[in-house]
Amino acid sequence: MLFGGTDVGSLTAQAVVLEDGKIAGYRNIRVLPNPVESAKRVMGELLEELGLRQDEVVIFSTGYGREKLVEVGFAREHVSEISCHGRGAFWLNPAIRTIIDIGGQDAKVIRVDGEGNLVNFVMNDKCAAGTGRFLEIQAKALGLTLDELGEMTFRSANPVVITARCSIYAETEVLHYMQRGVAKEDIAAGVNRSMAERIYYLARRVGVEREVTLTGGVAKNRGVKQELEKILNVKFVDLGVDPQIVGALGAAIFAMEKYGGE
């Protein structure tokens, strides 16, 4: 049987299809203005690539618009992205107990038990601190791409200290350092470190149990990843897939677990 999952975030949308308990394919696109259209587009493209029809696949939705996708009959059921990231990561590696997912607008720390069940979670509240948006703002102020920002950690010997927790005030600090003539590498490395500190404070609220993995778009920023490993004193487990598809994968797994026996 075929099972699918869609996950729509603030910047990107993903789809995953499982066939015989294995990943048959996945796709990752930039979002459209409407989350329902984003989910339909990304899954449509994936199904076309796999030569499948939508009615052959039991689809679960997560992320933005997940309820609406059920209402319009595109998805059979919806599950929160928190449970989906937890289940997706655990399915890929059953040793995982903590998942740190950092997306464009939210950051979550998810704890699962030995069976992959969600046991606790914490998300950022009404604040962009510790999200991909924070990095976007600082990268723009520095005139760097997100990829370049991540790499700067490895070129800096003296990262600056960014004290402000607020993204806007942090940007002011970045501009201040630039005006003082501090090397871009050191400022960028300071940004990556301060991002890691924000996630650390969030993670402390639910505790971090090994093994730990990092998912979401920010997992692709090598600088933040290294700083976070240092501050948490862990080595992130590589799940062997694109870290952005874990939510959609989790949705597909929930579909498989619920309807796989039919």
Binding site: Y64, E67, V79, S80, E81, I82, S83, N117, L118, V119, N120, F121, M123, D125, K126
Partner: protein
């Protein structure tokens, strides 16, 4: 019928009973705290009407008086005062709640210049000295009412209304118990009941509640939840939480069980000493009271046990320092005791917030294995 009437009253500020009350020559005063001695006001034919945000998210005018760093419930209420929605009030009792409310009342006094504003000072501690002080403050409020509204408030009348309030509190406890084991009402119904209570003369509210209790509903839910934290009158928010499957079966908030669950009954003692004890002791449910954290934690725990809930949602508005700090500690302590707990920080009545809140509530239900 009565339940829909209650929802109608909760959705209206100047309800039909308030209009009738006023047409009979009686006064209505606004206040914002459960420390307001209701029976004393009613004994002088003055209706205590609790200010609420009524789901109003537009605070554009209020924001030029207060700031965006103030609690959004206060800003919402101020907006309603400024735009004339509370013009039916004959004055305000500035009950000393939190600093956000104090600032709100300052702005009300400044911008609207109401003819009657009385400051009821409320201590932050409960002991012999503060009880004596508060009894004196309640007497001062009585004199202010008498002076402004030309009424005489006798002790016999206060006692008569205190006994009516006792009956209502008892009835409210019965109503809450109908929500515990096999829930017959939604949490949104309960919030509407509380809001209606704060907006009606007691002799109107009691029979309405009594008949509403007979209208038991069939309720579908995935998990039973207790709601705690800062003042919450947002019926629509509770409805959205319940649509996700988290049925609110109890609240310890001051627009919920916190307003009456632990209220003592009249015992025949000196009426002012009694009122001081009744209202100040009960105010321990509010994070503005010093040194009473353990009381509040135990209140949440005991109600959670009695209502057999699956978890607790602790909510507060952004910039509510009192409950923001308290909720962080409560979450840790309740989790330690095995009670799944979710902290929700929100803006009052913000529709843009709903998606964010629903994601957390859905994950919370999934976490509870429901």
């Amino acid at each position: 019928m009565s339940l829909s009437k209650i929802h109608e009253i909760a959705a209206t500020l100047e309800n039909e009973y308030v209009r009738k009350w006023k047409s009979e020559g009686n006064a209505v005063v606004g206040h914002a705290c459960i420390a307001m001695p209701k029976e004393m006001a009613e004994a002088g034919k003055i209706l205590p009407f609790r200010l609420r945000g009524a789901g109003n998210a537009d605070t554009s005018t209020a924001d030029s008086y207060l700031s965006r760093y103030n609690c959004s419930l206060c800003r919402s209420c101020l907006e309603l005062v400024l735009n004339g929605s509370y013009d039916f009030l004959d004055g305000f009792v500035r009950v000393r709640g939190c600093d956000h409310w104090m600032g709100t009342f300052d702005e009300i006094a400044h911008a609207r210049k109401p003819e009657f504003v009385h400051y009821l000072k409320v201590p932050h501690l409960v002991n012999e000295d503060t009880l004596e002080f508060f009894a004196g403050e309640i007497k001062r409020l009585k004199e202010a009412f008498e002076g402004r509204f030309g009424v005489e408030i006798s002790e016999d009348e206060i006692v008569r209304y205190a006994r009516i309030q006792d009956k209502i509190n008892e009835k409210m406890r019965e109503f809450y118990k109908l929500r515990f084991r096999k829930p017959n009402f939604y949490g949104s119904d309960a919030i509407a009941v509380m809001v209606a209570r704060e907006s009606l003369p007691s002799d109107i509210f009691f029979p309405l509640l009594d008949s509403a209790m007979a209208e038991k509903r069939k309720i579908d839910y995935r998990a039973k939840v207790l709601l705690a934290g800062s003042p919450l009158d947002e019926i629509e928010l509770v409805r959205k939480i319940e649509e996700m499957g988290a049925l609110i079966v109890a609240e310890t908030t001051c627009f919920g069980g916190g307003a009456f669950w632990n209220m003592v009954e009249y015992d025949g003692s000196d009426v002012y000493e009694f009122l001081a004890r009744k209202y100040l002791e009960n105010l321990k449910i509010c994070a503005r009271m010093f040194g009473e954290y353990a009381y509040r934690k135990n209140f949440i725990k005991s109600m959670a046990e009695e209502a057999e809930v699956d978890g607790v949602i602790l909510q507060h508005n952004k910039f509510c320092d009192l409950f923001g700090i308290e909720n962080a500690k409560l979450r840790m302590d309740l989790e330690k005791e095995g009670i799944p707990t979710l902290v929700l920080e929100k803006e009052y009545a913000s529709t843009a917030d709903i998606g964010r809140i629903k994601t957390r509530v859905q994950a919370f239900i999934e976490r509870m294995g429901r």
